[in-house]
């Protein structure tokens, strides 16, 4: 068992939010009980239809997406998705997004009364009132984290955006606000243009970059944050194999999330779990916790 900020995981691999729905489709491919946990599709207070299509675009070694938080709303999640997920012996992490303090606070209260194991705070959305993105402003982020923490008793993770000058600053803000851990990275803001139509490929114009292309940036950020905060770090960004996961763990991640890789291979999470095991056997490492943050600089 790995303890990540109070959340007990059977292994260090969690399905990343937005790439795994509520697990239903993947449950046709393997027993979801094999996963450390599932971070569900980003939830909002009210149901959302999301953005127009195309919502995806392939890029060199990655993708841009702009789903726009299509989801059935937190109430429907509690009503129909939690009971489904509870059939499996895995942890349920509710990924929540809002445009105001009040959005987040209400969701935290609803989820506090619901059967989830943790909250992951998606702070890549702009605060409608201030216009700034919550995750890009340390002060705002600290306040937001605290007010969610005050309303939710179980572990709270803050998911950091990489679109900042210093991710250490926002990680520290989350820590100061009482977060039990930080998860990173969310997607990098990007754009692709159809040069024959002279318009962005995505209907939403810009989108979030993910997949192997972002891995070097993600590993660097995970390590920076690991060195500078005292709460656990959940690492992600381009993980496809056990080796990739081990890279994040050595950099400082207590556990990892697997996102875009699920698209190319529905069994990706399982392969990552098995790959970590193989590495540990080969290297004669008994406990994955020995690896966490074991990086030494040259």
């Amino acid at each position: 068992m790995i303890n990540v900020g109070g959340l007990e995981l059977k292994n260090p691999v969690i399905a990343a939010s937005g790439t795994f729905g509520f697990g239903r489709e993947f449950s046709e491919y393997y027993d979801l009980g094999r996963l450390g946990g599932i971070s569900v599709k980003g939830l909002t207070l009210e149901p959302r239809m999301g953005n127009k299509t195309p919502r995806i675009c392939e890029t060199p070694s990655g993708i841009l997406n702009s789903v726009g938080l299509q989801n059935p709303g937190v109430h429907e999640f509690v009503r129909t998705e939690i009971p489904f997920l509870r059939q499996f012996d895995t942890k349920i992490i509710a990924n929540i997004a809002g445009n105001s303090f009040s959005d987040y606070e209400q969701m935290a209260e609803i989820l506090n009364d619901a059967d989830v194991d943790a909250i992951e705070l998606n702070v890549s959305c702009p605060n409608v009132k201030d216009g700034v993105v919550f995750g890009q402003d340390p002060q705002l982020l600290e306040k937001l984290t605290r007010s969610v923490k005050d309303r939710f008793e179980k572990p709270l993770f803050v998911k950091l955006t990489p679109n900042v000058t210093s991710i250490v600053d926002t990680a520290k803000a989350a820590e100061a606000g009482g977060a039990d851990g930080v998860s990173l990275i969310n997607t990098l803001l990007g754009m692709a243009i159809d040069i024959y139509r002279r318009r962005p490929v995505l209907a939403n114009n810009t989108g979030g970059l993910s997949g192997p292309c972002v891995k070097p940036v993600a590993v660097r950020m995970v390590h920076e944050v690991y060195r500078n905060v005292n709460i656990p770090v959940i690492g992600m960004g381009g993980i496809e194999t056990g080796e990739d996961a081990v890279e994040f763990i050595i950099a400082g991640a207590s556990c990892v999330m697997v996102g875009t890789a699920n698209f190319a291979d529905p069994l990706a999470c399982i392969k990552v779990i098995d790959g970590i095991e193989e590495y540990m056997e080969k290297m004669k490492i008994k406990d994955v916790r020995e690896l966490v943050g074991s990086l030494e600089f040259n």
Binding site: G18, T19, F20, G21, R24, E25, F26, E28, Y29, Y30, K41, M49, G50, T53, P54, R55, I56, C57, E58, T59, S61, G62, I63, N65, V67, Q70, G211, P212, T260, N262, F263, A264, D265, P266, L267
Partner: protein, 253 residues
């Protein structure tokens, strides 16, 4: 449990300058494959899989016809006999079959799933109205000839078959023949026109949609289309709830 499959390439045939027919040994696929379903195929180049409809499936041999366009299909057009292709599927909801008199209407590369549909349909009358840009683009004519009772081919430029759009040919065809259902696949603008023609003739119509995909299995929500059911607008996933939909729900007014 579902899984992806590695299928051996039996043959890769060039049908036109840009269209290829890939024949895969799919005897390891135990699931039933319904007309209108698709496979999500790893293409060597490119990070994402590419969706391709089942063009035919018989005796363990899976046929996929595809157009060489971008990165992925360019790589797929280079696979060699004996190599293995990683396919995920069969995916999605296929066509509703079991109707007696059916007519399939296809445009360009939209004709592919209609061949398997004809092969799996057992009604008293099976007609096909297919449209292509020009003579050089006509594909699988013999196969369609063998799989239906009445084949009409239209070419926009009149270089082969009847001159004009496939929708014009369909209008003429429906004046003379009656059907219990029309199935269509092709460019969106064509399918919409087909639906309008069907509406005029009071024939139910199913369409097979295209949308860019991520996972292909219904989890990521990148492939949605808006449909109107009982007056409520909702997002349906082309990969899981489709690709086949009822035309009146897609082209609502």
């Amino acid at each position: 449990m579902k899984t992806n499959y590695l299928c051996r390439v039996e043959e890769l045939k060039r049908l036109t300058d840009t269209i290829w027919l890939l024949e895969l040994d799919a005897s390891n696929i135990r699931e039933d494959i319904k007309p209108g379903q698709f496979f999500h195929v790893k293409c060597g180049e490119g990070y994402l899989r590419r969706p391709f409809s089942v063009c035919d499936f018989k005796d363990g041999m899976l046929r996929i016809a595809f157009e060489e366009k971008g990165r992925g299909t360019k790589a797929l057009a280079r696979v060699k006999q004996g190599e293995y292709v990683d396919v995920l599927g069969p995916l999605g909801n296929g066509f509703d079959i079991g109707y007696d008199r059916i007519c399939v209407v296809g445009g360009g590369i939209g004709v592919f799933p209609l061949l398997y549909l004809l092969n799996k349909s057992e009604g008293s009358r099976k007609d096909a109205v297919l449209g292509f840009l020009c003579k050089d683009k006509v594909v699988l004519e013999n196969e369609f000839e063998n799989s239906c009772d009445n084949l009409v081919i239209a070419c926009d430029d009149g270089s082969y078959g009847v001159r004009g759009f496939v929708t014009t040919a369909l209008e003429k065809h429906l004046e003379k023949h009656d059907f219990d259902i029309v199935y269509t696949c092709g460019p969106s603008i064509m399918m919409k026109k087909v639906y309008e023609i069907c509406k005029k003739h009071n024939i139910p119509c199913q369409v097979s949609l295209e949308e860019r995909m991520g996972c292909g299995i219904g989890a990521c929500l990148v492939c949605v289309c808006e449909v109107k059911k009982e007056n409520v607008l909702q997002n349906k996933r082309v990969c899981k709830d489709g690709p086949v939909m009822w035309a009146n729900e897609v082209y609502y007014d």
